[in-house]
């Protein structure tokens, strides 16, 4: 077969080239015994939040930089991140974010404190709906999913319980559950996956006693991401059911 012959020819040529190669080098004096490489320096790490004071419902951007680290994580649900990067977060209460940068020999921490001012009291004349919307987005916790999955994880169970409790305390609130996916994979398949994620959150809430008539669902697949970086941290942020106040 012509292609097999071609391949054999390639192999022969490659081997011939390799054989000729040493002949091209000049003779070198013998090298001294190699010294073992020095251990890597201790990692450096820096974490900032900008702005570091926000009002409830607003976002802030975490930015971090590390050196000599092989393993970098941030707490408060973020997890493993790239050695350097930035990410938008929306803490509902004052939080200290802790970054840990490790390598084989040592580790280094860095922290950034975000102060969250409670929602401003409603200005006279504003309707109740606006403060309800604010209260809703501050209190409701989004549900996050593993990759290619629409199962409610044990970690999300706590969020479901808290959300159900809040909804029972405010029986007049109605809302939409948006299903989202990370940027990988196909537009169409992700639309169905998002639909399943929205429905999973809806079912979990109805099982906790929330009336199904209070919730609409819609999938946005990977069309409306919360962050745009091609990193594990950002992908996890996008795999969620997101609650949006309706009325």
């Amino acid at each position: 077969m012509k292609l097999r012959q071609l391949f054999s020819l390639k192999v022969v040529t490659a081997v011939a080239f390799l054989l000729l190669l040493p002949a091209c080098h000049k003779k070198q004096p013998p090298k001294p015994t190699p010294v073992p490489p020095p251990p890597p320096p201790a990692p450096k790490a820096m974490l900032t939040a900008n702005p570091n004071t926000i009002n409830a419902g607003q976002s802030t951007t975490l930015t971090w930089n590390t050196d000599f680290a092989t393993d970098v994580t941030i707490d408060n649900g973020i997890g493993k991140v790239d050695p350097s990067g930035s990410m938008k977060v929306t803490p509902t209460e004052s939080t200290t974010y802790r970054l840990v940068a490790k390598n084989d020999t040592a580790s280094q921490e860095a922290t950034a404190r975000v102060t969250v001012n409670p929602a401003a009291p409603p200005i006279t004349g504003k309707t109740t709906t606006d403060s309800d919307a604010q209260l809703f987005s501050q209190s409701m916790k989004d549900i996050f999913f593993a990759y290619d999955s629409y199962e409610i994880t044990p970690e999300s169970e706590a969020a479901i319980q808290a959300d159900a409790k809040f909804l029972q305390q405010h029986p007049n609130m109605t809302f939409t559950i948006e299903g989202h996916c990370d940027e990988r994979g196909s537009i169409e398949y992700n639309l169905t996956l998002g639909e399943y994620r929205a429905n999973a959150a809806k079912q979990a809430l109805t099982q906790q006693g929330v009336s199904a008539t209070r919730m609409r669902t819609i999938s946005y697949g990977k069309e409306k991401p919360f962050c745009n970086e091609s990193t594990e941290a950002c992908w996890q942020q996008n795999r969620r059911s997101h609650f949006v106040y309706s009325k």
Binding site: L3, F7, D148, G185, S186, I187, E188, L191, L193, Y220
Partner: protein, 444 residues
């Protein structure tokens, strides 16, 4: 036509036998496979007058004609640097032996002239078999339209298709076909239309929420698509004749990825009206939905076998990561086609033999998500990889001549629409503004 089937079949076999040995190489066409392309010479058409309009439209015509014939993938275009100096504008100006001998060594010659007069554009074109000195004329055509660059291109497309039909084994050319796609350049995702070569890009829909998955009807009258309408995903229709949206039935749940049967009578799509996304089909004139799949897990992206309309391939997540399956169009005889990884976006070839689709063969946590376009022979399930450039290649769609595939790729940075021959060569970028995805090649 038979030659093309044989070529692709040989490509697939060649790909199989060498897959383990030459993991780095990919399949290329070549004369070594025993297929010879017709040597076609296409000199610029002659301007029949000296005014600026005639010259301008002659150039527009000639460039389009050349590009159409080259893009067809079935000609060995003779390089213009070999052409004799005398430019033929009509049969009496043609010296056959000059074209059939070296350096041109042509088998066929396309030539003619262009004239703009009184706001009217007239083109005369001929196709000559230069080796047949007795009666060389294969084609002699006359065209007349109002004078404009768009019409110069249109006439060139028509003449090119005539030549392709005559010399390409009776398969209709694609120079007048359209590609429908999704673009973000107006601010939100809407459905757009363009000529097969990327010209005349224009916006069709204005849903302002989000419009995805365009599929044009076989008679070119409507484009089916899915969009968020009243906070629900519905199948909507855009009429190309009326230039506006027209009504279509609404169903519960999320309704996505519409696909036309090639006789224009049925639409298949994914609906989660039962709570679980399944594939349904419905008569386009209205009537009961027919449920075709019945299993837990997302079922989406159906494509009909356009030769028979007796089979549908689609994507199912019933075992975990999405895989390609096919079934009879009544839902029976379900067969799984891919065996690993993440496989999506199937498109069935016009001759019914092949499925093009997007595949990430090794998929898992931490994987970068690169996907490539593959072609699988449905009967044998054996496949060939067409794109190798890393990055994300998705959403292949076959041209009606079965020789080309249009797809989306992010190899140039933002995701754009690209086209290529069905063997993976002659890759061309068609869009460059905004982000462009989900191309769909018209049936004719």
């Amino acid at each position: 036509m038979k030659r093309i089937f044989l070529l692709l079949f040989l490509l697939i076999f060649a790909g199989l036998n060498t897959r383990q040995l030459t993991a780095q190489d990919w399949i290329r066409t070549g004369t070594g496979l025993g297929v010879e392309k017709v040597r076609l010479a296409v000199p610029d058409f002659k301007s029949a007058a000296t005014d600026a309009d005639t010259k301008r439209l002659t150039t527009a015509f000639s460039v389009t004609l050349w590009n159409d014939l080259q893009a067809a993938g079935i000609f060995d275009m003779v390089s213009p640097s070999f052409y004799p100096l005398a430019q033929p504008g009509s049969p009496q100006e043609v010296n056959l032996s000059q074209w059939s001998s070296p350096p041109p060594n042509a088998s066929m010659l396309a030539f003619g002239n262009v004239l703009v007069q009184g706001g009217s554009l007239a083109v005369q074109g001929w196709l000559f078999d230069v080796k047949n000195t007795q009666s060389p004329q294969v084609l002699g055509k006359q065209y007349r339209e109002s004078a404009s660059e768009e019409n110069a291109r249109l006439i060139a497309h028509r003449f090119a298709d005539e030549i392709i039909f005559r010399l390409g084994g009776g398969v209709q050319g694609i120079a007048e076909t359209k590609i429908y796609f999704v673009s973000t350049r107006s601010g939100t995702k809407e459905i757009w239309q363009m000529d097969y070569d990327g010209a005349n890009q224009k916006q069709l829909t204005k849903v302002s929420t989000m419009a995805l998955s365009p599929h044009v009807s076989p008679d070119n009258s409507r484009v089916a698509f899915s969009a968020v309408s009243n906070a629900e995903w519905q199948i909507l229709m855009y009429s190309l004749e009326l230039n506006r949206q027209v009504s279509f039935s609404r169903y519960a749940g999320a309704n996505l990825s519409p696909a036309w049967s090639s006789d224009g009578k049925q639409l298949a799509f994914s609906s989660s009206r039962s709570g679980d996304a399944e594939i349904y089909s419905v008569d386009v004139t209205g009537g009961e939905l027919r449920r075709l799949t019945n299993s837990r897990g997302p079922d989406v992206s159906p494509t009909w076998n356009p030769k028979t309309n007796a089979q549908i391939a689609w994507v199912s997540g019933r075992t975990g990561l999405p895989q390609i399956y096919m079934m009879s169009s009544d839902g029976t005889n379900v067969t799984r086609l891919t065996d690993q990884g993440y496989a999506v976006s199937p498109s069935w070839s016009p001759n019914g033999q092949f499925l093009a689709f997007a595949w990430i063969r090794n998929y898992g946590p931490g994987a970068p998500g690169a996907s490539d376009v593959y072609v699988m022979d449905v009967a044998s399930k054996q496949w060939v990889q067409l794109t190798h450039d890393g990055g994300r290649n998705d959403f292949p769609s076959w041209s009606p001549d079965g020789r080309h595939i249009v797809f989306q790729s992010n190899r140039s940075g933002r995701t754009q629409i690209w086209s290529m021959l069905a063997d993976g060569t002659q890759v061309r970028q068609l869009t460059n503004q905004g982000e462009n995805t989900q191309p769909n090649w018209s049936f004719k």
